[in-house]
């Protein structure tokens, strides 16, 4: 009897917490810009950058120098494979039965023929890897993405995607191995390997960004939207960029700009290039 009451109480609390969380997500999804927590996010971004510069980057550098490329590729395959049940679970949660069955086949094939996932034998056979997680599943269920977050030691995220952090742990094969002497070092290697693999992307950010925080945030959010849309080009958003902009927001500091003037369409000379209309009207037909 007492057990039954405890069970009911736990279920009630679970439901209240779950409902509260969904309402919070819904509220955040409609609260204006994508980065209402920018001040906190920028602090965590600076913290993560410093941690990376002082610890992770040197460790990844040593790891890359010590481990030959084929070994790193196999370890990447292995870590990707042990985490792949997360994709499968989310396939089914999204109602993608065919993709789910394909992903089960991929996981089984790579875990057996591919020697515990060290070799990706499934992709050449047409069983391509998919990207699915709890955040994308919630998005498919209609939950708004909520505010952008930068989490310490984790990096860019959104509120909607935070359950992925927990779900990713419980759907990882290593969680069920039950031998910490094996799984703890493997998890450390997973983190170092992931950081080493991210070197090219981080270099891309450093080469392209004039404001690394804004660059990372917008690239992350755009890419998540792209994944949410199953890798289809966000054509409407791209076309939207070509339209005349609205008025600028009020500056946070006095900005030394010229007074507002009528916007000419022909005004710019590129050095070494004749003056040409920036963009003449599109010819008919």
């Amino acid at each position: 009897m007492a057990d039954d009451a405890r069970y009911r109480a736990r279920r009630f609390v679970g439901r209240v917490v779950g409902l509260g969380w969904f309402l919070f997500l819904g509220g955040c999804a409609t609260s204006g810009g994508p980065d209402p927590l920018a001040a906190m996010n920028r602090r965590f971004y600076a913290f993560n950058s410093a941690t990376d510069r002082l610890i992770m980057s040197p460790v990844a550098h040593v790891y890359k120098a010590a481990a030959p490329k084929p070994l790193r590729a196999s370890l990447t395959n292995f870590f990707h494979n042990v985490a792949y049940p997360n994709v499968i679970v989310n396939d089914f949660l999204q109602g993608r039965l065919g993709q789910g069955m394909d992903d089960i086949g991929r996981f089984v094939l790579n875990s057996t023929v591919g020697v515990f996932g060290l070799f990706d034998v499934a992709t050449p056979l047409g069983l391509k890897a998919h990207v699915e997680d709890a955040g994308l599943t919630l998005g498919r269920w209609g939950v708004g993405r909520g505010p952008y977050l930068v989490l310490p030691f984790v990096g860019p995220d959104t509120l909607r995607n935070t359950p992925s952090l927990v779900m990713g742990v419980f759907t990882n094969v290593l969680y069920y191995v039950g031998a910490p002497a094996l799984t703890v070092p493997l998890t450390v290697f997973d983190v170092i390997n992931a950081r080493a693999n991210a070197s090219a992307s981080l270099r891309y950010v450093r080469e392209n960004a004039v404001d690394k925080y804004v660059f990372t945030r917008d690239a992350y959010l755009q890419h998540r939207d792209y994944l949410q849309d199953d890798g289809h080009l966000p054509l409407k958003a791209v076309e939207q960029l070509m339209l005349p902009p609205g008025p600028p927001p009020a500056p946070s500091h006095p900005v030394p700009l010229a007074p507002v003037a009528p916007r000419p369409r022909v005004a710019v000379t590129i050095p070494g290039r004749p003056v040409v209309p920036i963009r003449p009207p599109v010819p008919a037909g």
């Binding site: 270099r203 902009p245 500091h253 007074p259 003037a261 005004a267 590129i270």
Partner: protein
């Protein structure tokens, strides 16, 4: 009766094939010149990468500058990246910005496409989109393994097609630049943005961006 149905289906299929035959070349003619601009630009990138090491940064920059100016509508992209702030700049400020933006665009290509390790561009498809622009879809792969999807948006300018936006794996370069540039102007003002662009060019040319 069955023969009549078969004949009707056959005639329908022939009509559809004829229509497709008519429309396909017309469609190709509409987007073909835009596709050619992308192909030529990508061919130049691969060619520069193949001799990238011997050319050095300055050499790659010099080779890419005229090609980027020809294939990209840099002035128009520069205007779009500033969004609502463009209309508030003086002519001199606009010229300075377009100059710095052009240099940064070319310097970024020169820094990123610095060495060849089997990269190739594939899968060129194209379609007409809003405002008469053309979208050219491509992939970049290294030794047959796909690295990224790279889509180019081209607009007609002065009688020929030029790139006005590049979208890599769903991430719009123009949107990223606009987000950063307008954020810098909003927080620190236009001179700070100009200084940031110029500083970036120096950084890239000195190879001080490390991976």
């Amino acid at each position: 009766m069955a023969g009549q149905v078969t004949m009707r289906r056959w005639a329908g299929a022939m009509a559809a094939a004829w229509l497709l035959g008519l429309t396909a070349p017309a469609y190709a003619a509409q987007t073909g010149p835009a596709v050619a601009v992308v192909r030529q630009f990508q061919d130049t990138l691969i060619a520069v990468m193949k001799v990238g090491k011997s050319l050095g940064f300055e050499g790659r920059y010099g080779r890419l500058m005229p090609v980027v100016r020809r294939s990209h509508n840099v002035a128009y992209i520069a205007e779009l990246t500033l969004g609502p702030y463009w209309g508030r700049l003086t002519v001199a400020q606009r010229q300075a910005f377009v100059h710095a933006f052009t240099e940064l665009t070319v310097a970024t290509y020169a820094a990123q496409f610095r060495r060849y390790s089997g990269q190739a561009f594939h899968r060129i498809a194209s379609e007409k989109v809003a405002q008469g622009d053309v979208l050219v879809e491509t992939d970049i792969a290294t030794r047959g393994r796909k690295d990224a999807t790279i889509d180019y948006l081209l607009a007609p300018t002065g009688g020929h097609w030029q790139i006005v936006n590049i979208v890599a794996n769903g991430v719009s370069d123009l949107a990223l630049k606009r987000a950063q540039y307008t954020a810098i102007i909003h927080r620190k003002g236009f001179p700070a943005l100009l200084a940031a662009l110029r500083g970036k060019v120096v950084q890239l040319s000195h190879g001080t961006v490390k991976g």
